[in-house]
């Protein structure tokens, strides 16, 4: 019997496929059976209402899209009163995602969202298009360390720290988050990008710049997962450009224990289900019994490092 389940610290998922925050809501139940997902990841919530950024908020680019949604939210209270019960109609664990104005607020958000029903707290310290006054604490190790420490102080629930691919030293940030008590690392949020309409000379996004996601970013984020997995021992959730079952395998080989999927849900809302089915087929075809065994299974230990020897071999 094939075992698709994976474990992220104390949380067991029936399979490694989760939606990425902001690319999912229970509205997906109108098109797929969301009880088949490994977990449900809610859109990032902040304490107070936020309108988000001016439209246009998204544009397509080669290999995916850029967005500048700007974390619109109805606020924490609405999340607790309305969205949480809505999510709890479904069986997969619920991952709540939080953002905040500053470090104190992050700490308070963690306290206030530490309620039954929330199975995991993902801390979105990496949204690239939040307006000033709140922000990207994942660009530097000290900031990430501070936020994770404060959140850790408020909750015993698993904490997943969502990192930023815009950090120059993402491995340092990852180690800081682990050191401060994160139970897992979500790698990563979107990469800052831009598109200009050559007919109108206008930026394609109202916010001028936005975050890029989709298949184009996969090799970049996969590299980060690989580097981070060599440096930390907490589980990693790969997130960036996954569009098929083999992409999930690739992330797991690089060191991810599970994945989150964003953009491709927009192109094919049935993608996550196809991917779960695809993982089953892939493992069965290759006689793999436990998908969790693939985590970090990349064969990189015995590679030829001598250029001349390598170039004499077949490839």
């Amino acid at each position: 019997m094939l075992d698709l389940s994976v474990r992220i610290g104390q949380v067991e998922l029936q399979n490694p496929v989760m939606p990425a925050s902001g690319a999912f809501s229970t509205e997906y139940a109108s098109v797929i059976d969301i009880n088949r997902l490994g977990a449900l990841v809610a859109k990032t919530v902040s304490r107070n209402f936020r309108a988000g950024n001016p439209p246009p908020r998204a544009a397509e680019v080669e290999g995916g899209m850029i967005n500048s949604i700007g974390l619109p939210t109805k606020g924490l209270q609405y999340f607790l009163d309305a969205q949480l019960p809505d999510y709890k109609q479904y069986s997969p664990p619920l991952v709540a995602s939080i953002s905040a104005e500053d470090a104190d607020d992050f700490q308070a958000m963690a306290r206030d969202i530490n309620v039954p029903g929330v199975d995991v707290i993902e801390i979105n310290i990496s949204c690239p298009t939040r307006k000033p006054g709140g922000g990207n604490f994942a660009l530097h190790a000290e900031h990430a360390h501070d936020i994770v420490t404060r959140v850790r102080a408020e909750t015993d629930k698993p904490i997943w720290a969502k990192l930023s691919p815009n950090a120059g030293e993402i491995v340092d940030v990852a180690m800081a988050a682990e050191d401060a008590g994160a139970d897992a690392l979500t790698v990563a949020n979107t990469i800052l990008a831009m598109k200009i309409n050559v007919n109108t000379f206008r930026p394609a996004l109202g916010n001028k710049i936005g975050g890029m996601s989709g298949p184009a970013v996969k090799p970049i984020v996969l590299r980060m997962v690989y580097q981070i997995s060599k440096a930390v021992s907490v589980p990693i959730i790969g997130c960036g450009g996954i569009s098929n079952a083999e992409d999930v395998i690739e992330y797991m080989l690089a060191g991810a224990s599970a994945v989150e999927i964003g953009y491709v849900n927009f192109r094919n809302p049935t993608a996550m289900i196809s991917i779960i089915n695809g993982l089953e087929d892939w493992c069965n075809k290759r006689g793999i019994r436990r998908i969790a065994d693939l985590t970090g299974a990349v064969r990189d230990g015995d590679m030829e490092t001598d250029t001349y020897v390598a170039a004499a071999q077949g490839f």
């Binding site: 902001g22 690319a23 999912f24 809501s25 509205e27 997906y28 139940a29 109108s30 098109v31 797929i32 059976d33 859109k43 309108a51 988000g52 439209p55 246009p56 908020r57 998204a58 544009a59 397509e60 680019v61 080669e62 290999g63 995916g64 899209m65 967005n67 949604i69 619109p72 989709g214 298949p215 569009s243 098929n244 079952a245 083999e246 690739e250 953009y263 491709v264 849900n265 927009f266 192109r267 094919n268 809302p269 049935t270 993608a271 289900i273 196809s274 991917i275 089915n277 695809g278 075809k285």
Partner: protein, 289 residues
């Protein structure tokens, strides 16, 4: 060689779908087959596709999110929303009428009869017609007419009369004329070439209809100027109204918050998502389209 498995196929989840849809879902991502696909004039194309039972539950004003093929060397990474133009429940067909404006619609235009087209839907909230009404007025321009056409059908089914004010550059671009006619709508064409599409003239026509008690409700789509007139007259004369709006979309299902528009509700400005909270909204709450 169909069974060949690639080492690293970058995009397997593509134009086709093999997913079983749970019975409880209302929306499907399905492969339709193009039955006919004709140019209506040099800008607009009319596409007829096969449709599944679930797709056929679509109501006027609702839309499908279409995965368009590309007409160039690149790939399209977003779907494109198109409202349903006609619904043939018996024949199991859906029709779309769309304007070719950019890469997506020009890509769509390359589909030949017999080819597949991946559509997602039905999506959004459609128009409503109150059977207590005697007569409604629809006012549209350009692609807006495609969205408004099925209203006449629906009004007819509810025993409600329709006056359709159709605005266009000239006669050639007066889309859907026949379709409105077939339903028995009374048609008022207004065009730019003879000046009849002037906003003052349209306002005059609307006022006449109001005066003649032939305007129990207003429907509009496709022009901000026309919408503003209808909104003002509707407010002045207490006529309920509905508008179908457009906005760039990513998911089409609600989660992404790409497609927001501004509305004014009880004097307060709010953002709503065109894809799930619309595309049809209360004309008095809409601010601009």
């Amino acid at each position: 060689m169909q069974d060949f498995h690639y080492a690293s196929q970058p995009f397997v989840v593509g134009r086709s779908t093999d997913t079983d849809f749970p019975a409880c879902t209302t929306v499907e991502e399905t492969l339709t087959t193009v039955l006919s696909h004709e140019w209506v004039n040099d800008e607009y194309k009319h596409m007829v596709v096969t449709a599944s039972p679930k797709a056929l539950t679509v109501k006027p004003g609702q839309f499908f999110h279409i995965l368009c093929p590309s007409s160039d060397e690149g790939d399209l990474w977003f779907r494109r929303p198109q409202s349903v133009y006609a619904i043939d429940r018996e024949g199991g067909r859906l029709e779309f009428l769309y304007k070719c404006v950019g890469r997506g619609t020009h890509g769509l235009a390359t589909l030949k009869p017999g080819e597949n087209c991946n559509i997602l839907g039905p999506l959004g909230i459609g128009f409503t017609v109150d059977s207590a009404w005697k007569n409604i007025v629809v006012l549209g321009r350009g692609v807006g007419l495609a969205t408004l056409a099925p209203i006449s059908q629906m009004a007819g089914d509810a025993g409600v009369g329709v006056t359709a004010i159709l605005s266009a550059r000239n006669k050639e671009y007066l889309l859907s004329h026949e379709r409105f006619e077939k339903i028995g709508a009374s048609i008022v064409p207004v065009t730019d070439d003879d000046g009849s599409s002037d906003i003052q003239n349209v306002e005059r026509i609307l006022l006449e209809l109001i005066a003649a008690a032939r305007a129990d409700a207003f429907y509009t789509c496709g022009s901000n100027r026309l919408f503003q007139v209808m909104k003002r007259l509707g407010a002045q004369h207490g006529i309920p109204g509905q508008i179908a709006m457009e906005q760039i979309m990513a998911c089409g299902l609600g989660p992404c918050y790409v497609c927001v528009k501004t509305f004014e509700v009880n004097g307060e400005r709010v953002l709503r998502r065109v894809c799930v909270e619309g595309p049809v909204f209360d004309i008095q709450e809409a601010v601009g389209c």
